[in-house]
Symmetry: C2
Subunit: 439 residues, 2 copies
């Protein structure tokens, strides 16, 4: 029996047990078919997402340093002696040490070769990935990649710039739907060593000019500044009821990953993760919304008129939602578009009610197909039998596991009544939808 | 001893031997440090890129079908009975069966659930990947993904739309550099089954409207039309000298991958691949360009004036190049920007000469760092000692192996003379560069 494998197996089992405690704390039946294998899937995903703890930079860089001449004569820098090399737009993901949710990273790495040798380009990405696949904070991630490359390649200098995206936490304070909500906290950090150690070095300007093409500028970066508050869990004051069994379960997950739960940055992590997770606890409340609140006739006649008033397709677009994938216990998040027939658009109160419906079904362990159906059914009881619902979402489980499909998104559709039978009605509504941006 | 592993090991060895024959046919010393391990790397990459031959759809889909209710009553479609589900923008890559080069695929998959069950979203991507990781043509790839999902999930219908990008082959006919050159052949194909079987079905309109956000429309797709000519190797009439040992080596690679080299689509593949590869054979020609051809003083004084004429930074931007990565025997391709000091810009003849320099160093087994240095050195002998060269490239080896960093690009810089010592000169030149698009 292989000890390492055996140990790995036990640790996964330990994570599975912890996930069962979390699911029960959320009020779920852990034998329900959709979540029966969720503990197994979560453990597997976490193990994959933190495999960097067991990887070594030297194993990656070893054998990938190639001799490469510099300039003859030497009135400049080029090739293996001084010619700046930049690899841009590497998509990575990491796990936030503050709240245990995954965050996306767009990584740009540069180095100045020395001693007439260069490193294989893909190794810059592979080394970055070793440190991304751990519990991280953006600045520390940049620093660790930078230091590892400096030690591994021994070049004249290394520069690392990371653009990190972290999911927003819901703000319940605002009563009205916040349609300006972008869904993501963005931050840019940088780290430099050797020729890049000095923040004001001219070579940083060269580096950023070549990233500038994509909207990055040095003014956005604050090398050396630690962004304590980038994770929205730290600014969330909401306190959720969770029990000590759940807290202990998260602590045991941290320990299983090889982390020290008493490390300063991790002390509050179980509580912050549970603050997020408890948004999605199962509730047996029924959604009862009085359609008279919407101030409207909820049964427009199918002939296209209510009395003498013509009935048109109206829509409420881009209602934001948060949800948690019941298969992987990971966030998915995006917008809901609702189409209906009416002689006039909803007022502010009506829109708030629709947003409440969206939140009611979003804040659960979910799958997007069910969310779409539930919103359509409830909306139908409010706005009449002719309803079309489109949900567009980014699924963290599509990027933060082995699959790593950055930039992918999922759209689901429910059609009721006239929208089901009339392709022209669907086409008119679909044409009115704004562009969905997955980040 | 595990027989499957043993067999795999022998096949990889067989690919390694074939790659050695190819390298020797290119005139390379297979013991040179940069390419000593290239046979091993090529074999490993090809094995990884064609692992789909050994994967089964049922292994992926099994256990990932979840019960999910449809609408009660049934005056519409939603959830697990009829609600359209679309996963968009899945980045994949495949290998072209016509020429053995990798091509990029942006994959969009939709299906209509039936029998109150849905499939895990990531499985749509994983099933697509099984068929992408084989030697393929775009329409066949779309058809195979579609058929496999129809059989595996048994839904009401499946739709697959693929946007494929294939590297252009160099056109030597044009004497002048083609600055409008985009570097990529793009094609859009689609395949449908069940509710999507009929091309004119209204549900195709719904599907394309949701892709429309990203510039895809049904008018660009021609379901059922086979694009015989999408691979540029088929329209290339250039005949290269290659020997029968090299042809036999490519045939043995095809056989090692489990393909039948006598399959109709593969009969011409060894010849087409060698037509590509022989562009990059080693030549001992020296690059001798007479600077008087450029009709200029090649030593502008460092004070910023030649006689009474003021000397400014001039640039030749976006000169296209093709090259072949010597570490992985895979294309990298992009643009070269050259900055220099002069009182006037080059004329058409001068630009043609610079493009020749770029092609001369591009058409070899290369690394980007060396290419950049060589262009800078040669340009310096033509345009004076103050030279800056920026090379921007997409490396196929960054996407078509295990690393799969779609959208990444690499920039390398060489600076000579004044550009080496004057940050403001570098900044001025860098600011003039156009946006680089990796696809």
């Amino acid at each position: 029996m292989n000890n390492a494998l055996d140990e790995g197996h036990q640790l996964v089992d330990c994570i599975e047990d912890a996930v069962k405690v979390l699911l029960q704390g959320l009020g779920e039946d852990i034998n329900r078919e959709g979540i029966r294998k969720t503990p197994f899937r979560v453990a597997k995903a976490l193990r994959e997402a933190t495999k960097g703890y067991k990887q070594k930079v030297n194993d990656v860089v070893h054998g990938a340093l190639f001799p490469e001449a510099g300039l003859e004569g030497g009135s400049g820098q080029a090739g293996g002696a001084g010619g700046l090399v930049i690899v841009r737009d590497l998509d990575l993901f990491s796990y936030c040490e503050s709240c245990l949710l995954p965050f996306q990273v767009q990584c740009h790495v540069g180095y100045v070769p020395s001693e007439q040798r260069v490193v294989g380009l893909s190794k810059l990405s592979r080394v970055a990935d070793i440190f991304a696949k751990r519990l991280q904070a953006p600045q520390r991630l940049a620093d660790e990649i930078c230091t590892a490359l400096q030690h591994g390649i021994k070049p004249t200098g290394v520069a690392v710039v990371l653009q990190c995206l972290h999911i927003h936490f819901p703000k319940f304070e605002s009563a009205l739907p916040d349609t300006s909500h972008q869904g993501w906290v963005k931050i840019l950090v940088s780290s430099g060593s050797g020729a890049f150690e000095e923040e004001k070095a001219d070579i940083w300007t060269d580096f950023f000019r070549l990233l500038n093409f994509r909207g990055v500028s040095k003014d956005n970066a604050h090398p050396g500044v630690v962004h304590q508050s980038w994770c929205p869990s730290k600014s969330s004051n909401k306190l959720e009821q969770s029990n000590s069994a759940m807290t202990n379960a998260v602590v045991s997950i941290l320990r299983s990953l090889g982390e020290d739960p008493s490390r300063k940055e991790l002390v509050g992590t179980p509580c912050r993760f549970l603050n997020w997770l408890m948004n999605f606890r199962n509730s047996n409340l029924e959604m009862k919304v009085n359609s008279f609140l919407l101030g409207r006739n909820n049964n427009p006649s199918p002939c296209g008129k209510i009395g003498d008033t013509e009935v048109l397709i109206c829509s409420e677009l881009s209602l934001p939602f948060w949800s948690q994938c019941e298969h992987h216990l990971l966030p998915f998040q995006g917008v809901v578009h609702i189409g209906y027939y009416s002689s006039d658009r909803l007022d502010a109160v009506g829109r708030t009610i629709l947003q409440s419906v969206v939140h009611f079904y979003g804040f659960k362990l979910q799958v997007q197909e069910r969310l779409t159906r539930q919103i359509a059914e409830t909306t139908s009881s409010l706005l009449g039998e002719d309803i079309m619902v489109v949900v567009e979402a980014s699924h963290t489980c599509m990027i933060s596991r082995g699959i790593e499909k950055f930039g992918s998104s999922t759209a689901t559709i429910a059609v009721l009544g006239r929208f089901s039978s009339d392709p022209a009605a669907r086409a008119e509504f679909l044409q009115s939808l704004p562009n969905f941006c997955s980040t």
